[in-house]
Subunit: 219 residues, 2 copies
Amino acid sequence: MEFADYFPIWNKLTDRQQAELSAAVTCRTVKKGTVVHNGSLDCTGLLIVKSGQLRAYILSDEGREITIYRLFERDFCLFSASCMMRSIQFEVVIEAEKDTDFWLIPSEVWKSVMEVSAPAANFTNEVMATRFSEVMWLLEQIMWKSLDKRIAAFLLEESLLENSPQLRLTHEAIANHLGTHREVVTRMLRYFQSEGMVRLSRGVIELTDPSKLEALQHA
Amino acid sequence: MEFADYFPIWNKLTDRQQAELSAAVTCRTVKKGTVVHNGSLDCTGLLIVKSGQLRAYILSDEGREITIYRLFERDFCLFSASCMMRSIQFEVVIEAEKDTDFWLIPSEVWKSVMEVSAPAANFTNEVMATRFSEVMWLLEQIMWKSLDKRIAAFLLEESLLENSPQLRLTHEAIANHLGTHREVVTRMLRYFQSEGMVRLSRGVIELTDPSKLEALQHA
C-alpha cells in the first residue's frame, strides 16, 4: 500500500502539493507503550495510522488520565500537529496501545499545503469534527451515564478490539481509560463478578456473560 | 458597523465570494430566552454575534442540560450550521441569554464558499478549534474539579459578565449550566453563605466576598 492510498483527498491536490508531501512523509514503527506525542512539549506532525492502535488521553495535574479517543488503521491524528493551529489550546498525549506503524507528515509541511488548498483545509476540518464528535460523546457519557455502564461499555469494546472474551487488563488501566480511581474499578468488577458477568483472575478479566453486560450498558 | 467588519478574513475572499455572502446574509434580532438553533431539527446557518450573548448547551434524554460554551460580540457560531459538515455527529441547542442581534449566513452558502476558498476553510478550522478547546476545558473541569470550585468559578464569571456582584439567577439555572441538580446547587450555595462568600435572598445571589470565592476556585 502506498502512502497516497491512505489519503482520501490525494487526487484533489496539485502535482506540486503531492510532491511536497511525498518528499516530506516518513514511516515510523513504534512498540506498544511508546508515547508518540506529549502535549505541547513536541510538535510531532500529522500521523496516519498504517496498522496498530493509538490512544489519545489527557492528564490532570495529579497524573490522572482519561482516554478521549482511539485511532485505528487509516485514522488521521491531528492533535499531534496541534502547533499548526493557534486556536488549539489543549494538550493531549498520544500513546501506542499496540505495536503501531504510521506515516508522519511534519506539521509545517501540512500547514503550508492546507493554507493554499481548500480540499486539504476542508479535509482537516472533517477530521477535527470527527474527533470533536468523539469528545462530545465522551462528555455525554461522563455527564449522564453512571460508571457501571461506562465500565460495561469499555469491557465490551475491548473484547471487540481484542477479538477475545479474555482481557489482559489491569484495574489501573481501566481506571486510566475512564478517568476514575483503581479502587472504584475493582469494587465494580467484583460486583460484576458476583452478578456472573465476568470472572476475575490474576491479570485477566474474562467476560462470561457479554449479553448481560450489553443489557447493563443500555439499561 | 458593516457585516464585512465582523469577518476577519473578508479581504482574503474573492469579489464574487464577497458578493455571494453579502447577498445571502441577513440580520436577526431575538429576545432573551429565544432558542436560536435546536440540534439537528434545524440547519440554521452560520451565526455571527453583533451584540448580546448566546449559550450553547447539550441535553440529556431526561432533559438535563450542561452549558458547553457561550458566544459574545464578534463570535462565530459554527454548530448552528453543523449540517454542512457530515462529521459533526452531535447536537447542541443555542439559546439567547440576553437580547441578541446576529448576522446569519445560510449553511449552504457558507459551505459553497468554504469548498473553494482555502482562507474560508482555514478560518472555519480555527473557529472549530476554539470551540473544541472550550469543550476540552469543560471536560477537564468536570473530570478533575469538584463542584464547589465549579460553582465558585461560575458565579465569578457571571459577576464579570453582568458587571455586578448581584446576580439574578435561580439555583435551577446554575444547575443547568453546570449539568447538575438544583438540590446540589442549593446545598452548596447555603454552604457558601455560611462561609460568608455569598448572601442569598429571593431570586438574587450577592457575592459578598469575591476574593474568598476566587481562592476557593483555585484551591
